[in-house]
């Protein structure tokens, strides 16, 4: 797998590069954007905003609460032991267990949704450059079509980057980005 990318020192140039790539007919899903902080002020930083996460969290809450209620009431029925003159299935106290598991369900579902939709953990080699941690913004294309590679490189460079790099990604656990040419 190959990738071409440019590093931009400020978000406006990055936006220009992204716009330019789009104008060249490259679909949004093939343009990779990587930044060291969220850049919601810019169009390229606001992609993929739609997520069903809140709804899934609510669903997780319903599932958690349901299982909490069933856990407490079914086990109380399975081995009925009277205490303190209270009913065997004591709704007031089961409400507390139900509540806690509702919240737990919502939290766990949020967590799982985050991990799956954000694609972590993924330790395989991916398109990345440590310069992102110095404040650069990476705009790149994975597997560019051979005929338009030069056009892409030109557009990346014209948008104001210092260098356009080309890498070969070997998708293997723990491997680093392999090879880089200027």
């Amino acid at each position: 797998m190959k990738a071409v990318y440019g590093l931009y020192s400020d978000p406006e140039r990055a936006q220009r590069a992204a716009d330019s790539l789009r104008a060249a007919g490259i679909p949004d899903r093939d343009i990779t954007v990587i930044s060291g902080e969220p850049l919601e002020e810019f169009e390229f930083g606001r992609r993929d905003h739609r997520t069903p996460m809140p709804w899934l969290a609510a669903l997780g809450g319903v599932l958690g609460g349901g299982s909490g209620y069933l856990l407490s009431s079914l086990t109380q029925r399975a081995y009925p032991i009277p205490t303190g003159g209270m009913p065997i299935v004591a709704q007031w106290t089961n409400g507390i267990v139900t509540y806690e598991l509702t919240m737990l369900g919502a939290i766990l579902m949020t967590l799982v949704t985050l991990l799956i939709t954000a694609g972590i953990p993924d330790w395989r080699a991916q398109l990345y450059d440590p310069a992102v941690s110095d404040g650069y913004i990476l705009i790149g294309v994975i597997n560019p079509p051979d005929d338009s590679r030069i056009e892409i490189e030109r557009r990346l460079r014209e948008s104001g980057t210092a260098a356009v790099k080309e890498v070969v990604l070997r998708r293997r656990f723990g491997s680093k980005l392999q090879g880089a040419t200027g």
Binding site: S35, E37, D48, H49, T75, A78, L104, I107, T110, P130
Partner: protein
Amino acid sequence: MEKSPNQITEDLLRPLSRTSTKFYVAVALLGAVVVAAFAAFGYQAYSGIGVSGLRRPVFWGFYITNFVFWIGISHAGTLISAILRLANATWRRPVTRCAEVITVFALSIGAMFPIIHLGRPWLAFWLIPYASERQIWPNFRSPLVWDFFAINTYLIGSVAFLTLPIIPDWALVRDKASGWRKRVYGILSLGWRGTPKQWSRLETAMHIMAIAIIPVAVSVHTIVSWDFAMAPVPMWHSTIFGPYFVAGAIFSGIAALIIAMACLRKFLHLEDYLKPVHFDNLGKLLLMMSLLWFYFVFAERLTVWYGNDPSEMAVFWTTQQGAYAPLFWTMVFCNFLLPFPILAIKRLRTITGTVIASIGVVAGMWLERFLIIVPSLSHKYMPYNWGTYRPTWVEITIMAGTFAGMALLYVLFSKAVPIISIWELKLGLQKKSGVRSQETRERRELTAGLEQKLET
């Protein structure tokens, strides 16, 4: 003078790579106290809980006091940081992580005490609802089982709340570090890159978590208070206990946060990040909670005094005038008389001032938990059974061990993780200079519109 993003990175990553001898001395000293506490617990588990000072009728003493105290401290973090996040208070950025860390560690320490205090601690797992060969499940009517569920939910939630925003910072460390550190942080950062999708999901998740964690935190301390309020014991059996405990928890939590921040500022040289304004703001919050605490104590005491129930009045007078009165009035001093003027007068609300007030509050809140538990148990109904309580060295050692353990965990954590969220701080800078980019964007949209018009 604002720092540049790269300077922020450098400043905040320095504690991770450079280690002074002070660090090793601190770790050795704190570690020694923690080891002593573990030894004391081992001795207690081997000989029987009789080596503690517990006796009839005071079956709960220092251990449960510390349990409530540490669970209270844990409300520093998640709750405060979640509220500040939801309210979008911009000054929160350097504060949230040090607060969330307190939550996770204080909660873990607090949750150990119900196990430490058991007569047969090796059977603590019987509280876990699992299909056992005994075919018996936990008693869901017991407040201790509610505790089990509430504390575990809160612990899972607050660990997630703390860890999620650390992932991008670990990715930053991975890029900056070399050698074994690079490998370790590479694994810890879960392959985080920072695509818009990842950022967006992370922020949505943090938003949901912040909303979810607040009611959980409230429920945790309410349920801890119900450990007492559910029992027909004089001055325990009261509906005020839930909110009273939650308010007290937030009160002691803010105080612990101020102390922790002052230590971080001094020892990690974060003077440019944890600024006087943060202490000033938290000091105002602490002032508000101090007033709220006084209100709750007054409301609780007034109701008891007016009701004039003989069994409750026995407990009431022993704390107001009797054997526990010195502790009670020390508590009032530490929780109100000392912090109120310091925090109310602007000139005194400095870093030193807020730290002095906070130390008072932490000590006072510990006393409050003790005064809720012990006087009631020692003056239950029939005077023939009244008793007293005195802790032994075992309880004191274990308690000292938890304070040392908290400090030790905090020291180790600040070695492994940037104690201030770097990406959130940078985001704050970006938002501050956001006016400019806003303008450019508008200008760009305008030109795009014009171009479209020209084309058509």
